[in-house]
């Protein structure tokens, strides 16, 4: 796939061969002059539609900055961010559900903001709640749910946002996930990783998943991208196939190299 589609308009319909996300030598610097901090430097990254990509890196590698750039919450200092999907939607480490709304109304919120009718958004919310195995829990409020259930409601909401942004409802969206399972206990995390893979396969969304857990990255992703720290640049890229143990050893070794280079 060598053709790069020249397009900056986010809502444009893209052909099947187009990239879901194309970062072209993207850099981000905070502040100016003496106090300037470069968070990202010349990142080149392409994500295909429906791909599951994990961004891996130690602290300070600009993972979250990168997601913010993709989400349009922040602008790149240099380079270009080109999106081939509907507006990407975000999932954070915390569920960030609105505590005064029921689970269903939380899922409905992005649809409501997009101007959908009551009936339509209710149906869609029920559908998405069923997808994350929360049938019949729609009337509960966040405080009545467990941590894992809340994070699944957040996933359903992110899916609602990802598929509602444009008028073309069939355009698969993109999920940006910023260590979404980091705050959960090990058992719940394990189950939710499996659930995320199932939902990803069922919906065909593109997923950009940030983590600092090598094992999590290898389990989930089709492709793992390792970022260095301060400033963040791409230092390695692996396709996940067979031989996961070897891959784990290799990536961990490379990650350690990146970290030790900061010891001086």
């Amino acid at each position: 796939m060598t053709s790069i589609v020249e397009r900056t308009d986010r809502t444009d319909r893209t052909g099947p061969s187009a990239m879901a996300l194309d970062l072209r030598s993207v850099g981000k610097t905070f502040g100016t002059g003496q106090n300037a901090v470069t968070a990202l430097r010349s990142i080149d990254l392409r994500v295909g539609p429906g791909e599951f990509l994990c961004l891996l890196g130690a602290s300070g590698c600009g993972k979250s900055t990168l997601l913010n750039l993709v989400a349009g919450l922040d602008g790149a200092t240099t380079g270009e961010v080109v999106l081939g999907t509907a507006r990407p939607s975000f999932m954070f480490q915390e569920p960030a559900l609105l505590p005064w709304l029921t689970a269903r109304r939380n899922v409905e919120l992005p649809l409501r903001l997009a101007g959908q009718g009551r009936r339509q958004r209710r149906e869609r919310a029920e559908e998405l709640l069923a997808l994350v195995r929360l049938e019949g829990q729609g009337d509960k409020r966040p405080h009545e749910l467990s941590g894992g259930m809340r994070q699944r409601v957040a996933l359903a909401r992110a899916l609602a946002a990802a598929t509602s942004a444009g008028t073309e409802g069939d355009l698969p969206g993109m999920l940006l996930m910023d260590e979404p399972f980091a705050a959960l206990d090990a058992i719940t995390r394990d189950v939710l990783q499996g659930e995320l893979l199932r939902v990803w396969q069922a919906t065909g969304t593109t997923v950009l998943f940030v983590t600092h857990d090598v094992r999590e990255a290898i389990r989930l992703a089709q492709r793992v991208v390792l970022l260095s720290s301060r400033p963040g640049t791409v230092v390695g890229e692996w396709r996940v196939g067979g031989g996961r143990e070897e891959l784990h050893t290799e990536i961990t070794g490379r990650l350690r190299q990146v970290i030790t280079s900061h010891a001086a």
Binding site: A71, L73, R87, S89, F90, F92, E94, A96, L98, P99, W100, L109, P110, R112, L113, A114, R133, R141, P142, H143, E144, L145, S146, G147, G148, M149, R157, A161, A165, I187, T188, V191, G194, E195, R198, Q201
Partner: protein, 307 residues
């Protein structure tokens, strides 16, 4: 054995042998985790809740009346300083009989409600401005919280000089007392919103007014309600101060004026009856209006106490 009908399966992954078993397994694991992790709540029967909330204050009131009766019966002080509970009751019953109590209550309560309503209309946009516009906050934020500690009685002499002995004086004092509380409550409520919520709203596509309507205002509601509650207490207090100090033919008889009248005629039972009425109205509004609203709002957010 009849051949089993082939189940219809969606195309893709599920066609692999054993895939459905894995899926069912995952579903069971999720369901099990949910069942284990869901927070449990214990509920007591309504009569126990009613008993545990109503009985203690009732007993306390009974003890208080008993002590009062004993102090009066022991005749430590003169009758005109501490009257018998019964004579206070007779005074109160007298005003009920000639219907005076209703006009007195109506005068004060209607003033308090009108004043509080106007204060809400002024304080809400003011609070929003102070909370969201940094320049405005820097300019009048400290003044607004400072005004909260200024007793509104201090406004009465100035108001009398400005507006004379008219309703305008009363309303001015009520507004001066309650606006800072309500505005400060809203500011505190907005300041306490977890930053992740507006960020989430932005990601979901809420901007400006939509963000305020769907995220900011509902998120700030608990703090705003607390401010309103305090604002009500302040406006009721200020009203009484104004009614006691500023008395005149144009003003009509409210609770404060009734109290002042009792004091002027050395009628201690009337004074005590007035004080108790002021107390009862203040507590009554809080219990009947603010408590249910607050409880509903907090319970929806999982913040209410278990009682």
């Amino acid at each position: 054995m009849p051949p089993e009908p082939t189940p219809l399966r969606p195309t893709g992954e599920a066609h692999r042998p054993g895939a459905t078993a894995v899926l069912e397994d995952a579903a069971a694991a999720v369901a099990g985790l949910d069942a284990l992790d869901t927070p449990t709540t214990t509920t007591h029967p309504w009569w126990r809740r009613a008993l545990s909330t109503a009985l203690p204050p009732f007993v306390a009131l009974l003890v208080f009346m008993l002590v009062w009766q004993l102090v009066w019966a022991s005749a430590i002080t003169e009758e005109f300083k501490i009257p018998a509970p019964a004579s206070v009751w007779h005074e109160f019953a007298g005003t009920v009989e000639d219907g005076r109590v209703w006009s007195i209550l109506w005068t004060s309560v209607s003033r308090a409600f009108l004043g509080f309503g106007v204060a809400l209309l002024i304080a809400t946009p003011l609070g929003l401005l102070v909370a969201k516009v940094p320049v405005v906050r820097a300019a009048i934020g400290p003044l607004l919280s400072g005004l909260q500690s200024l007793p509104s009685v201090a406004w009465v002499p100035a108001a009398v000089l400005w507006f004379g002995l008219t309703d305008a004086t009363i309303y001015f004092v009520v507004l001066a007392g309650s606006i800072p509380s309500i505005a400060n409550g809203l500011v505190a409520g907005i300041d306490q919103i977890p930053p992740i919520l507006p960020r989430m709203g932005q990601v979901l596509g809420a901007r400006g007014i939509t963000s305020a309507r769907h995220i900011l205002l509902p998120a700030a509601l608990p703090g705003y309600l607390a401010g309103c509650k305090q604002g009500w207490a302040f406006s009721w207090r200020s009203l009484m101060a104004a009614e006691i100090i500023a008395a005149g033919p144009l003003l009509g008889i409210g609770l404060g004026a009734y109290l002042k009248e009792g004091s002027d005629f050395n009628n201690m039972p009337a004074v005590i009856a007035a004080i108790l009425l002021i107390l009862v109205v203040g507590i009554g509004i809080e219990l009947l209006v603010f408590r249910p609203i607050e409880r509903r709002v907090l319970r929806a957010r999982g913040l209410a106490l278990s009682t």
